[in-house]
Amino acid sequence: MNELRELARTLLTDGTVRVIIGWEDARRGARPAFVTDPADADRLIFDTRCVHNLVTYLDPRRDNVAELGKIGLVVKGCDAKAIAGLLREAQLNRDDVVLIGVRCGGVLEENELPAAVPLTPENVAPRCYGCDNREPALVDHLLGEAQPEPPRPVTTIDERVAALDAKPLEERWAFWTEQFGKCVRCYACRQVCPLCVCERCVAEKTRPQWIEASAHPRGNMSWNITRALHLAGRCVDCGECERFCPVGIPLSLMNRKLQQIVGERYGYTVSDDPENAAPIGDYRLDDKQEFIK
């Protein structure tokens, strides 16, 4: 942590960056912090409560963040994958941001705690299990000591997806219509997603209106399918959409299923290598087509 504060102080003092976006301690746990004054660098922390994917602040639509000046961003491995996604899609210039990577051994599912606690199968964020990027490569500085693998959660996301997959179609439909039926269309999932970067979302198109805007089951189904599909092969599994969802829709199941689909069909795994072409928008002549007559 001292390493992080020291680096932040140096970068701010020598003018390399104008703001460091990291995490700080607050009454209700860790929260995002914008540090512009070198004297405030001691506010920065990194521990198991730092669940937020701060890459969402680099969204080109957030011009109020861009106005702060050059950004130094603290990223975990999953966050770095989102950076790679933005670079891949030409939404970010690598030179416009200084990336401070932190070695991460997983984060908590519930971050609103007064102090960091060690991870256990009960409290670990399930998405952290099996993480392949605990030491982000796509960074300018890599801090912290090597971290152990996160513990295996009581129920992994893969197990939940498999359990759902094993159910008959009607039960899956009943499950998802109930889940999507809760949606209030606040679009928090979209706003927090580091990769939902469209200037104008299809959900806001009215001529024609592709996605019905009011929160009823039919429009919700359309929105949730579309949200998931637009992230197929792009989602970095940072878990922010599900964490932000005020009604608790298990979006991580949809996201994980899509990762499995692109993994099985196209051998694609999302990484923090911007040269690793995303599967949708790319193709091979011999792609599987068993579903096509």
């Binding site: 219509t177 009823h216 039919r218 069909r265 087509q289 579903f291």
Partner: protein, 178 residues
Amino acid sequence: MSDSIDINGAAAGLFEPRITAFVCNWCTYTGADLAGTSRLHMASNVRIIRLPCTGRIDPLFIIKAFERGADGVIVSGCHPADCHYTSGNYHARRRFAVFHDIMEFIGVDPRRMTFSWVSASEGAKWRDVVNEAVTNVRALGPFAAYRALAPEGAGRAAPAGPSAAAVPASAGAKAEAS
């Protein structure tokens, strides 16, 4: 159309599914046209929407078709390597592979969604694709599960569409009353 009525199931009291086909201009639309000019008998349940390319077909089109009362959909275009725009169908293939799999995960029976490659010379294949899709969807019945998602007051019955002419006049009054 009168040609095909004798092979559809209305007379036998069978459910007549409404199927929306999204086809590309260059291959399948021409193939379907060939099926027509060749006077091939086929089910008349399919309404074709012609688009420039399968690459132009957004999965939202399919969702919208279901919202508007389709019981099934067909997506069809040029065979691989035959795309008028070189690669539109390759992109579509990936997009619809993912869409197909995720819809199945959500609980939509994949037999409601037919994907095919039909070239301009394959009128007979188009007939087979259409007849098979109609048979499959007829066996599955109306897509009541999707229609049940409609908001209150929006009319849970399928909105009066192209098939309205095919139902007896009394059915319209019934839909209004419900």
